[in-house]
Symmetry: C2
Subunit: 302 residues, 2 copies
């Protein structure tokens, strides 16, 4: 088993969905990612919080095998905050973002983090993603995520990130935004030409599409009867994916497919409750059972 | 091998997509359906055209094993016409509909059609669907499709159809419209309570979701690099599905899954060219090859 390093946000989220509402729920891309990845591998977390962040959650994260030496705690400042809502189409609508401690985030990695073999650059400023990559040595698989804000505001820095990574995660509207192509096959091939050998396009409830040099792989979403809160689904997916790869110390096609399935499954649990609540309760047999159900739900050539 | 009966429209379509434009292209739900189904079973077609319909296409259809005794040709009238376009989201936008011969369509089935075991009531007035059902005897599997126009204008007739059929095909926006449920699992269960034991929700490029009494099955769309024209994808899917079932004379879970896969595959060919052009050229080895590719694209537990 290898370790995974993740850099990204920890946050308080205020979320309204058709099924309820929470205020200041602990979340953030790196929180979802690391809790998901920790089911399969040890995690080195790089991020920043204020003195107000949930210390109980941090203890639970450490107990799950998430190393927090790379987490900077600025006692007299406030944690990053996001407020938003979802309507029935499950697209996030932002009402308010407060950067707080994130405004000056410039991570300085603990020396023992710098040779972590599996690296995930969460959806943050691509210049910070570049700074983390520069501090890394001997990586085996590097991946990054991004969002419309960075695609728009820092396209050149993002392109420099893409030149240096192996796997690029993004959602379908971002893929269209970056390439002008609504067709996912064409969009993925155009994105691969910018550097990453593998492109993974997330389609929300419709699943995920993975494209490599001479292969493609596609999974439907795991059907969930009641989506309480879509927040963190993509980050949980990334965490399940990278954690699974690191856990098997592999990156061949079979490992990539299984990683995709495990990312999908972990994300399907995340959305069933608000915030990271369901992720914190997730047991190995939950994942195994849903894996078997996913085989029965999707395999026809048995 | 059993036969499939289909009732539905034959039409001239004028279509504009991001990849081109055609005028008066022969199409219609029953045309797509029967060409797709004829790859796997013999088809009895019930419909109506004017004297202007494409006689070359009708000959090709007969040569493919589609019986046209149930097709009424009204020599001095005009065939049904549809004009519309698709933008990059591939949702059909109607510009003009001319009912023509379809305005007074009231099918009177040839006696030898009345015991066709597999029946597909294409997307037409639910009162016509009911009239066809009344003429049928000893059916094995009956299925129907519909659209927003009938859901809105004839909900009671549609409910009477649902009480009498086994399989209900509809797309995800129609499922939400009929049940008020955006979640497909919940929507499908509510629709099953109205009669059909199986509900098949079509999600366009995102594939298809099938729900029965105590099982679900889900397939992603077959990834197509260039969608020239989405017209007829749903009808080709239905034709591939029902034709496959009739061809195997079966309706168990394995047959239903394979029928879904073959519907998906036939539809993936349809959209690669305008109208029924690709369907007319489709060879058995095309389907076999895409079946094997679909296994490799989707199966992880091998």
């Amino acid at each position: 088993m290898s370790d995974v390093l993740v850099v990204g946000s920890l946050a308080f989220d205020s979320i309204r969905t058709p099924h309820g509402e929470v205020e200041e729920e602990p979340g953030g891309a790196a929180t979802y990612f690391s809790l998901a990845a920790s089911r399969f591998a040890d995690v080195n977390l790089v991020g920043v919080v204020g003195g107000d962040f949930d210390s109980g959650l941090l203890s639970s994260m450490e107990a799950s095998g998430i190393d927090l030496e790379g987490l900077k705690v600025i006692e007299d400042e406030k944690t990053f905050r996001w407020k938003g809502y979802y309507e029935s189409d499950l697209e996030a609508q932002t009402e308010k973002t407060e950067l707080n401690v994130f405004a000056d985030f410039d991570p300085d990695l603990p020396p023992e983090y710098c040779e972590t073999p599996y690296v995930f650059l969460g959806n943050i400023d691509p210049e910070i993603q570049l700074s983390v990559l520069e501090q890394m040595d001997n990586t085996r698989v590097t991946a990054c995520d991004t969002m419309n804000f960075w695609i728009d505001s820092k396209p050149e820095a993002l392109n420099r990130v893409l030149e240096q990574i192996d796997i690029f995660f993004l959602n379908s509207s971002e893929a269209e935004m970056m390439t002008g192509e609504a067709n996912l096959i064409t969009a993925a091939q155009k994105l691969r030409q910018r550097g990453p050998s593998i492109v993974i396009i997330k389609k929300g409830e419709h699943g995920v599409f993975m494209v490599g040099h001479d292969w493609q792989f596609v999974l439907p979403g795991f059907p969930v009867g009641l989506v309480q809160d879509p927040t963190g689904a993509g980050d949980s997916f990334g965490g399940g994916f990278m954690g699974y790869l690191a856990g098997t110390e592999s990156d061949d096609f079979t490992a990539l497919k299984h990683a995709l399935v495990h990312g999908n499954i972990v994300a399907s649990f995340t959305v069933q409750e608000f915030g990271v609540r369901r992720l914190l309760e997730l047991e190995e047999w939950d994942i195994d059972e849903r894996y078997q159900r996913f085989v029965r739900l999707t395999h026809f050539d048995l």
